[in-house]
């Protein structure tokens, strides 16, 4: 008897193949580049990432399912892949000089970053719990190493250990959720799960409810939603700052995309149950994030708590489970990538010989020593708070209006109150920059490397541009979630 293996559609995984080849190629090229010129590896990685991003755009409206229904390419996957590739490109730009200052300018850094991107790209395209798990682990294992990349730095290695221990612990819990789902439903394919739940009327099955909790916990870790946010401040503070910028955006986006796929497509019929769960989690996440952020004096830690709070806002989009909400999540990740990476870029700008520059006090007098950086920082802070005319405002507007449409009035009230709290701590930085005394002139003035300046300028312009002309990106975001319309 002969078994015919189905031939997978390799064209569908073009971007993934490209990233894999690029990352492996970088590891090889790295061998031939002398120690003091590792920057070349970074520039090569940047060029590759940009090419991949342009190549991925061709997959818009491509829509294919391959590998026996395990891998799906739709607009939703494409738009999130663009978020990852954008975040990777900006991270490489802001890393080039920083790694040299920290004396860890090694080629592996860029290869690891691309392997991480690969994991995330697989994760958003996954239509099967097995593939989601593989993508998640590819991403997570690279990120653990990246967060401990300054291996002679006590804080960095401690951050890596904390991230690793929490990460593998929660991935065990996620796996048990997958095992239970498989045991009840008999399949790990998301569409098959939805089908079986419908046919057998399993939507109130207690074992599936437990599995739902476990899956939420598994994705909740990367999203940094309460009560799985404890790792975030320590890891964000200890990791190299470009890595912090990266993990505050990209893995979070990947976990959100996977959460949307699993919850909306896979167990969409259990929506009444998971809406209660996410309601409580969203309220907790926003409040804990914002209130604790207000107490911080370290800006990296403050932005860590603020990123927890932003995860809370984005949960509103999933909770609302309508087109505006899901499109809002996609849009918000673009906006969040712009504004958050920009804010971290300014922190990197403050890093110079002998000065770490991640305390609020280090921002004092920045308006005098580097007015342009201070101005852009204000734009990022406005956007993070959600004040027009910035992309952050449009994102929040979409999310909140979706939640109102779905009838979550109280949650929107909590979210708006939280935004007010966030204004307080974001503008402590602005106050330090404009009203604080500049340090004496003996300290070198903060001057960014050209690559860093370019990166901050790009994200600054994009933050403003999509705040004033959001129409096109909103339409793209709405077109990206059409896959989910049958499930809403």
């Amino acid at each position: 008897m002969t078994t015919v293996l189905p031939v997978p559609n390799l064209a569908a995984i073009g971007p993934e193949i490209l990233v894999t080849v690029l990352a492996c190629g970088l590891l090889l090229v790295d061998l031939f580049i002398p120690k003091d010129r590792k920057r070349a590896v970074g520039i090569l990685a940047l060029a590759g990432t940009v090419v991949t991003a342009l190549f991925t755009m061709r997959y818009w409206n491509y829509s294919a399912t391959t590998f026996s229904g395990m891998f799906v390419v739709d607009n939703f996957a494409v738009i999130f892949k663009e978020v990852f590739l954008f975040a990777t490109a900006i991270t490489i730009l802001i890393s080039l000089r920083y790694l040299e200052i920290e004396k860890v300018s090694l080629g592996e850094y860029y290869a690891l970053m691309l392997f991480c991107t690969l994991g995330m790209m697989v994760m958003v395209s996954a239509a099967d719990l097995v593939v989601i798990y593989i993508g998640l682990e590819t991403m997570a294992l690279s990120v653990y190493v990246l967060s401990g990349f300054m291996r002679f730095n006590v804080k960095s290695s401690e951050a890596a250990l904390k991230y690793f221990l929490v990460g593998v612990f929660i991935s065990g819990i996620l796996l048990y959720g997958i095992a239970l789902t498989y045991g009840v439903v008999g399949s790990t394919n998301l569409n098959a799960i939805a089908e079986t739940i419908k046919l057998k009327g399993l939507k109130d099955n207690p074992v599936l409810m437990i599995a739902m909790f476990l899956l939420a916990a598994g994705f909740g870790l990367e999203i940094a939603m309460a009560p799985f946010h404890f790792w975030a401040p320590d890891v964000y503070e200890g990791s190299p700052t470009p890595v912090t910028a990266f993990i505050s955006v990209a893995p979070k986006a990947a976990a959100f995309a996977a959460l949307i796929r699993v919850f909306v497509v896979g167990i969409g019929l259990m929506a009444p149950h998971w809406q209660v769960l996410l309601w409580v989690i969203a309220a907790l996440t926003m409040t804990i994030g914002n209130v604790t952020a207000a107490l911080q004096s370290n800006v990296k830690r403050m932005l860590a708590y603020s990123s927890i709070a932003h995860a809370g806002y984005m949960l509103l989009g999933i909770l609302a489970a309508n087109t505006t909400g899901l499109a809002g999540v996609a849009f918000y990740f673009f906006a969040y990538a712009f504004m958050n990476m920009g804010a971290f870029g300014v922190i990197i700008l403050l890093r110079r010989e002998g000065i770490v520059g991640d305390e609020v006090d280090d921002f004092k007098g920045l308006a005098h020593t580097n007015p342009m950086a201070a101005l852009l920082m204000v734009v990022f802070l406005l956007s993070l708070t959600g004040i027009p005319p910035t992309a952050g405002f449009i994102g929040k507007f979409l999310l909140f209006s979706a939640a109102i449409k779905a009838g979550f009035y109280w949650l929107v009230v909590i979210a708006v109150l939280n935004s007010v709290v966030s204004l307080f701590y974001y503008f402590r930085i602005a106050q330090a920059m404009y009203m604080g005394e500049a340090p004496d002139s003996s300290i070198p003035r903060p001057q960014g490397a050209p690559s860093l300046t370019v990166a901050i300028a790009i994200v600054g312009i994009l933050t403003l541009f999509f705040g004033i002309y959001p129409h096109h990106l909103v339409e793209l975001a709405k077109a990206s979630v059409t896959t989910f319309i049958p499930f809403l």
Partner: protein, 100 residues
């Protein structure tokens, strides 16, 4: 044939031992071993379900879990070595430079 309930109960017990170990022990290596215990409990459950459902997906997933666990162990031990070189301790209670 062993009924699937017995397999699942055993797997739950091992999983619980793993969770308790990971949360209560202070030595990084014992925490890591507890986490391995959790992953193996998952494998047991997957294989049990797989034989009950007469469906191979569970066994394949178990193979993937074993592979990923090996990768996790490699990365984890490398991180522990890096931490040990910096502070000469593998006790998780000492990992408290950054707090609150």
């Amino acid at each position: 044939m062993i009924p699937v309930n017995h397999v699942i109960v055993l797997s739950l017990v091992i999983f619980a031992i793993g969770i308790i170990g990971a949360l209560s022990r202070r030595n990084v290596f014992i925490v890591l071993m507890s986490i391995e215990l959790m992953l193996n409990a998952v494998n047991l459950a997957l294989v049990g379900f797989s034989s009950q459902l007469a469906n191979l997906t569970g066994q394949i997933l178990a193979l993937f879990v074993i592979t990923v666990a090996a990768g996790e162990a490699a990365v984890g031990l490398a991180i522990v070595v890096a931490v040990y070189r910096n502070r000469h301790s593998v006790n998780v209670d000492n990992m408290n430079i950054m707090k609150w």
